[in-house]
């Protein structure tokens, strides 16, 4: 049985993966060119994002036919996370001009995808239970939604800074990017979507770990709790004290950094076996 798991995790990237890699790179480059003032290329850049998204989805599907599912391991989940981020960006850019955000999000998706596919697989847990699969799926979706929210917050901070410092000749100002208030609102709504999902994932994870009989003294477990506390606090201060804008965006980024750290520790541990 362990041999089968190793084989499954070592599935080679599909042709669609390489298409996605090229499309992500091209999309990031095209978005930079759009930022440079060639607004006419915007549809082309968004089309490239669409191609990357489709190819990425095809790669995930192809792996599915080989019985490698997004919820199988943190490594696979990372690839799926990048997929969610790209999809979310595509949706949001239908409504707002998010060129600057896209130029930042595309490389992130690309790196996540490449890490997910090209890093050494390590060995998979032999007994990935249904509980474990649900935990990984929900955690991935939750973190994916948080990732989108924090991307919007990052754009908010960059644009806000340009506006507040009156840097009227900077790219962040000249791009006529998404307006501040809607960015803030959208980011907040995404956190409201991601938070319950992440909460359930956290509880299931705790149950899973205790069922496996492992100890809870690994650093990622308290760190996951810290992530949850960050987001819970963010929702509370916003709802009760009306925090928004700069302060909310910074808290959001801090929460996401904690979530990323958890993922990173998992990944390193898995790679190290």
């Amino acid at each position: 049985m362990p041999r089968t798991s190793e084989r499954l995790l070592a599935v080679a990237p599909s042709p669609a993966f390489w298409v996605a890699v090229v499309a992500y790179t091209a999309a990031a480059a095209a978005l930079l060119v759009v930022l440079g003032g060639h607004a006419r290329l915007r549809p082309l850049a968004l089309a490239l994002v669409g191609v990357a998204f489709a190819a990425h989805g095809a790669d995930i599907g192809w792996r599915g036919t080989l019985h490698v599912h997004p919820a199988q391991s943190v490594r696979e989940a990372l690839g799926f996370l990048a997929f969610i981020i790209t999809g979310g960006y595509l949706l949001a850019s239908m409504r707002y001009r998010l060129t600057l955000g896209g130029a930042a999000v595309m490389p992130v998706s690309l790196v996540l995808l490449v890490v997910a596919r090209l890093t050494p697989a390590g060995t998979a847990p032999d007994d990935l239970s249904t509980l474990g699969r649900i935990h990984i799926s929900l955690a991935t979706i939750g973190v994916g939604v948080f990732a989108l929210a924090s991307a919007l917050s990052a754009i908010y901070l960059v644009e806000e800074r340009a506006l507040r410092r009156k840097r009227f000749d900077t790219l962040a100002f000249k791009d006529h990017g998404a307006p501040l208030e809607p960015l803030d609102r959208l980011s907040h709504r995404l956190i409201w979507v991601g938070f319950p999902i992440f909460t359930v994932a956290l509880v299931l994870g705790a149950i899973w770990v205790s069922k496996l009989g492992e100890s809870l003294d690994r650093p990622e477990y308290p760190l996951a709790a810290v992530t949850w506390i960050f987001y819970a606090a963010l929702l509370v201060v916003r709802q009760v004290y009306g925090w928004r804008g700069r302060r909310a965006a910074r808290l959001n980024l801090a929460g996401f950094a904690a979530a990323l750290l958890v993922l990173l520790i998992y990944l390193v541990r898995r790679m190290a076996g």
């Binding site: 506006l163 507040r164 009227f168 000749d169 100002f173 804008g245 700069r246």
Partner: protein
């Protein structure tokens, strides 16, 4: 050949003191245009007169020069000596004129680059010219194209992006914070032309309501009535600030009235909702320190000017791209104009060929219908028909080439070679004076006709067929 021309004066060549002397009132336009086309070598004409330019766009009568007479005409119309305006009037002809019209329509020649007002003025001027009956096919096509180019330039370049004057910058900045101004409320503190203009622009961009406050209630009432707002008493200022989304302040106060202490209370009461403060007063109404508070964005008059400068710099960059679009479109229009000249010739040529072919075809059909023919005979009739048509069509050009005066024969031969893509061989080239060799038996249509008649009268024997 007739060509397009432009004669005019604009902000580029003359100050307003001169421009106003040459300006035309709307009600003068029709009469002026009709006088121009009646008395000058001008076939089509349009006159656009705005505060920044007075220009005549026209089409000359074939072979005539119109720019000189139009210059004199414009001066005479305004009671000036032509010499007095010689230096400030400019003129363009042909492709330069087309490019100029396209540039003007695209607002590339406007005082404020990209300012679209001129497009509406051009459309109105075109309407007047059409009404006066002085706009014709060439000018009409040129203007329609110019409107198309203007639209292309606006959508494909950043020429009209970003506010280009201080009172619209307020809208631009508010939109950067709120996106959509629908449902937002504007608070105008104090009075002043600029704040009135800015409030109007905000209202036109969707802001839901305008509240006006002033130390003097009468002034507040007056301004509120003027811009469809509501006047509120001055002592409600703090509450008004809590409710507002955009504040435009331009009081004559010597000390800041929007102080940090006031805004600390206000932002907290607003729960840090975004607030845009446009301070156009000098000395400033807003303490710059309030810009450090969460959710507050303060812009003073210098900031607004800086935004305008930055936007205009962007527009200037876009103008290069726009210029290339204009050049390309002007070249296409030129091409259309040139082909217009040969259209009648093409039509005549086609009609003539069709006439010859139809006549011969009818004759052949009649012959075939007269009696029964064997397939071989039918074949012969068709062969003869084709030969006959070719001969008839070639008869005139051949004769013209043979009978050409010696100095023209070479040129005619060369043109023929070009038109029919020929590459003559033998001692007599296209530029040679010698006649092109030609088989004698198909020289004259008459001979061929006789041969055809013979062929129909006596059925062809196999030997004869072989000989042909």
């Amino acid at each position: 050949m007739s060509e397009l021309f432009v004669v005019g004066i604009s902000w580029r060549t003359a100050p307003v003191a001169v421009r106003e002397k040459l300006a035309f009132r709307d009600e003068e336009l029709t009469g002026t245009l009709q006088a121009m086309t009646a008395g000058l070598p001008v076939a089509e004409a349009l006159l656009v007169s705005t505060c920044n330019r007075v220009e005549v766009y026209g089409v000359t009568r074939p072979g005539a020069d119109a720019t000189g007479p139009v210059r004199a005409f414009l001066a005479a119309q305004r009671g000036l000596l032509p010499a007095a305006v010689a230096d400030v009037l400019y003129d363009h002809r042909g492709s330069a004129a087309v490019r100029h019209v396209f540039s003007v329509a695209s607002a590339l020649d406007s005082l404020v680059l990209g300012e679209a007002q001129i497009l509406g003025q051009l459309k109105a001027a075109y309407g007047v010219a059409t009404g006066a009956g002085t706009s014709g096919p060439v000018l009409g096509r040129c203007l329609e194209r110019a409107f198309g180019v203007a639209k292309r330039v606006r959508t494909e370049t950043a020429i009209a992006r970003g506010a280009a004057n201080v009172s619209t910058v307020a809208v631009d900045l508010a939109k950067r914070v709120f996106g959509n101004l629908a449902g937002k409320s504007v608070l105008v503190i104090g009075a002043g032309k600029m704040s009135t203009l800015a409030a109007r622009h905000l209202y036109a961009s969707g802001a839901q309501r305008i509240v006006v406050t002033n130390r003097s209630p009468e002034k507040a009432e007056a301004l509120a009535a003027e811009i469809d707002g509501t006047a509120r008493p001055w002592d409600e200022l703090e509450r008004l600030l809590v409710d507002a989304d955009v504040v435009i302040s331009s009081t004559g106060a010597r000390e800041p009235i929007l102080t940090r202490a006031l805004f600390k209370r206000v932002t907290k009461a607003r729960r840090w909702r975004q607030l845009v403060v446009i301070d156009i007063a000098v000395p400033r109404d807003a303490d710059p320190a309030i810009g450090e508070l969460d959710g507050v964005y303060v812009f003073d008059i210098d900031d607004l000017e800086k935004v305008v400068a930055a936007n205009l710099a962007e527009r200037a960059k876009a103008a290069e791209h726009a210029g290339r679009i204009v050049d390309h479109e002007a070249a296409q229009f030129e091409h259309w104009l040139r082909t217009q000249g040969v259209v009648p010739t093409i039509r005549a040529l086609r009609e003539r060929f069709a006439r010859v072919a139809d006549a011969e075809l009818q004759k052949a059909l009649d012959q075939l219908a007269r009696k029964e023919h064997t397939p071989a005979q039918q074949r012969e009739v068709v062969q003869r028909l084709v030969q006959l048509v070719v001969n008839k069509l070639l008869h005139q050009p051949t004769a013209a080439l043979r009978e050409a005066p010696p100095d023209e024969a070479g040129l005619r031969a060369e043109i023929l070679c070009q038109l029919f893509d020929l590459s003559p061989t033998g001692p007599a080239g296209p530029s040679g004076a010698a006649e092109p060799a030609e088989p004698a038996e198909i020289d004259e249509p008459r001979q061929t006709q006789q041969a055809l008649d013979r062929a129909i009268a006596e059925p062809a024997s196999p030997e004869r067929k072989a000989a042909t």
